[in-house]
């Protein structure tokens, strides 16, 4: 790690006399959600390298200061303070885990440094420091937040004609906030779930939860959790010989889900901002350089990789527009970004406003499906329109 930082620093020194612009990158690079964290970090690294190759921002190179928050709230808070006070970062990207984001981002808010959530989805994240309680909100995001995903999951279940919905969620902040969003949205549709069950991280056996759903006559399962436990739900259904459609939150696209569920995971669908397809030249070049740089044939968690990559470009554009590394100016630039930022998920046209700090709108999110170890488009029409860039809907969030 130390050697790596030295190498990057040395590599940049001769070409750039200017001080690098330090950007914090925080996420779990170890642990159960590391495939998301590592994909995000690797995507961000690619973007920073591309920007630096093209001359950097304001004539200065970007320097990513990477810190492992281990998906632990308290570590995340420590990392935030270190990045702000010791490393003096200009802005920070990252956060995979909603709990960590909520614990850590208040330090950025207080220091008036923009903090950019590129993976964590808890709806509350961008609302934590909302007007009118706070003069300015320094929290931005380019991932599909939970209310949006929960709405998609419910609408999809109802559109498929299912009437009896069972909701399974893990007992973390992430799972329980997602479950709340699902239940709230179901209530607006006048539907009451037939079963609402909970499971813990590292639970071995899902028999009780699944039997309850089965006995309640559920004809579809909406599951909110992360890869390994979602896989245990799939495996548990196979064990009970019970086959109903399963719609999950986005992390069933994690490699761990695919590995652990194996054939039992086939057909599971989940909201995705990014599917590994090479229809657009921008996506093609991103995927090719990702595969080549890291010697893989598939991004471990494609959504995280793509969102991590895009977040660096959006931030760079804002710093350029602000003409300085002052936090308040960057925030103002983000809220009124003039440049069209061509990312791999979409082309960001005014991604944020003073009121709306979520770059992703519902029309950008598609359903992905697990099929033989890969995530593909769940719907033929999405696959056909893969090459169409879905711009942000006005006033959608």
């Amino acid at each position: 790690m130390g050697a790596l930082v030295c190498a990057t620093a040395l590599g940049l020194m001769p070409a750039q006399a200017a001080d690098p612009i330090k950007i914090g990158v925080t996420g779990p690079y170890t642990g159960g959600s590391s495939s998301m964290g590592v994909s995000m970090r690797d995507g961000a690294r690619l973007a920073a390298a591309e920007i630096n190759k093209a001359g950097g921002v304001l004539g200065r190179p970007l320097l990513l200061v990477e810190r492992d928050d281990e998906a632990k709230n308290e570590v995340g808070a420590q990392v935030a303070q270190e990045l702000i006070n010791k490393e003096k970062v200009v802005a920070t990207l990252g956060f995979i885990n909603t709990g960590v984001a909520l614990a850590a981002q208040r330090f950025y808010q207080e220091a008036e440094i923009p903090v950019f959530n590129n993976v964590a989805t808890g709806t509350i994240i961008t609302n934590q420091f909302k007007e009118p309680d706070y003069d300015a909100n320094y929290v931005f995001r380019n991932s599909a937040y939970d209310v949006l995903q929960a709405g998609m999951m419910v609408d999809e279940a109802l559109a498929q004609g299912h009437k009896k919905i069972a909701v399974l969620a893990d007992s973390t902040n992430y799972g329980q906030l997602g479950r709340e969003d699902i239940e709230k949205y179901l209530a607006t549709k006048g539907v009451k779930p037939v079963a609402v069950e909970k499971f813990n991280i590292k639970d071995v056996d899902m028999t009780a939860q699944l039997l309850k759903a089965q006995q309640a006559g559920a004809d579809v399962i909406l599951a909110y959790g992360i890869g390994p436990e979602l896989a245990q739900v799939s495996n548990g259904m196979a064990k009970l010989g019970w086959k109903v459609p399963m719609i999950t939150s986005w992390p069933s696209s994690m490699q761990s889900f695919i590995d652990i569920a194996g054939p039992n995971g086939n057909g599971v669908i989940m909201p995705q901002t990014f599917i590994e397809d090479q229809t657009l030249p921008r996506r093609k070049s991103f995927l090719e350089s990702y595969y080549k740089s890291y010697g893989v044939t598939k991004i471990p968690t494609p959504v995280a990789g793509a969102q991590g990559y895009d977040s660096v470009f959006i931030l760079a554009a804002a710093i350029k527009q602000a003409g300085s590394t002052d936090g308040a100016k960057i925030r103002a630039a983000l809220e009124n970004l003039n440049e069209r930022v061509e990312g791999v998920i979409t082309t960001y046209e005014k991604p944020f406003s003073a009121k709306d700090h979520n770059a992703i709108s519902r029309n950008m999110v598609v359903f992905g499906k697990v099929q033989d170890g890969k995530i593909v488009y769940a719907k033929p029409e999405d696959a056909k329109n893969a090459g169409v860039v879905r711009l942000k809907e006005k006033s959608s969030n």
Partner: protein, 290 residues
């Protein structure tokens, strides 16, 4: 009725996982009145070691190698963590030392195998089989059978072999055994080796059903500890019964009460046992003469 039986079947499978791990606690407690709090890490190391070997040797041939690995691991723990503490008659030193070794093992495992949860290839078909009204995974049957067989093997070893007899003698009265010419220190090392060996074996046994990773043992070992307390720290039969009670209580509560309270009855039972019968359901109450 079918539902009830299905819940019981799943509870038995989960309970035997706990029992297999709890068995290791009981072995070392019997000889030295100390426990290896790194039992969960021994389990994880065994499973990860097995995962690395399996592609070369296949599942079945890998098991003896994992047993040897576990045996050596236990000896290391005893030498480094327990013996120095016992020697200076420290009452708590071994607790800290075994926890510390456990943390070191976990960090080593994280550095070698990473911190992702990995898939352990199942040696048996992964589709469930129908037994009457209930469905079980072949692997779950193997866990129950394997765990029972392992405990039986250790019992036979203790009763029939000369080394086993020394273990039993040391368990009964360590001072008398010493006076009879038994090298009790080596017996304690042996019990740690066997204990870690059973943990490593339990690791490769349960890994195809649970997830495999450096932290896989954390939750399991804690539950197993509760099982050992409920059943009695000195009774092999106790850990089986304790495991079954806890496993079945979890699945039944999950279904009939709420999945949110799944872990509660087992822990209440733990508190009840501790207050009414601190030696555990099957523990022998010994009057200590001072």
């Amino acid at each position: 009725m079918a539902i009830f039986l299905q819940l019981i079947a799943s509870g038995v499978a989960v309970g035997m996982i706990y029992a297999a791990i709890a068995f290791g606690y009981q072995l070392t407690f019997a000889t030295s009145k100390t426990l290896n709090f790194g039992q969960g890490e021994a389990l994880a190391l065994g499973a990860l070691f097995g995962l690395t070997l399996a592609p070369f040797t296949g599942y079945w041939l890998m098991i003896p190698l994992v047993l040897v690995f576990g045996f050596a691991l236990g000896a290391v723990v005893e030498r480094l963590g327990v013996r120095p503490a016992v020697k200076i008659k420290s009452e708590y030193g071994w607790i800290m030392a075994t926890i510390a070794l456990g943390i070191i093992f976990r960090n080593v495992a994280e550095n070698i195998w990473g911190r992702d949860d990995l898939k352990f290839p199942s040696p048996l078909p992964e589709s469930a089989i129908q037994l009457g009204d209930i469905r079980v995974l072949p692997m779950e049957l193997l866990i129950v059978g394997g765990a029972l067989l392992m405990m039986l093997a250790v019992e036979i070893f203790n009763r029939k072999s000369i080394w086993g007899k020394a273990v039993v003698a040391t368990s009964n009265d360590i001072d008398a055994a010493g006076l009879m010419g038994i090298n009790t220190q080596r017996v304690i090392t042996l019990s740690y080796s066997i204990s870690a060996m059973t943990a490593a074996f339990a690791g490769v046994l349960v890994a195809p059903v649970t997830l495999t990773g450096a932290t896989m043992g954390a939750v399991l070992a804690l539950k197993a500890f509760a099982v050992a307390i409920i059943g009695g720290l000195e009774s092999g039969l106790g850990v089986i019964v304790g495991g079954l009670i806890l496993g079945i209580a979890e699945t039944l509560t999950g279904f009939y009460i709420s999945t949110g309270y799944k872990d509660v009855p087992g822990l209440i039972l733990l508190l009840v046992v501790l207050s009414i019968r601190p030696v555990g359901l099957f523990g022998k109450a010994v009057i200590k003469k001072v």
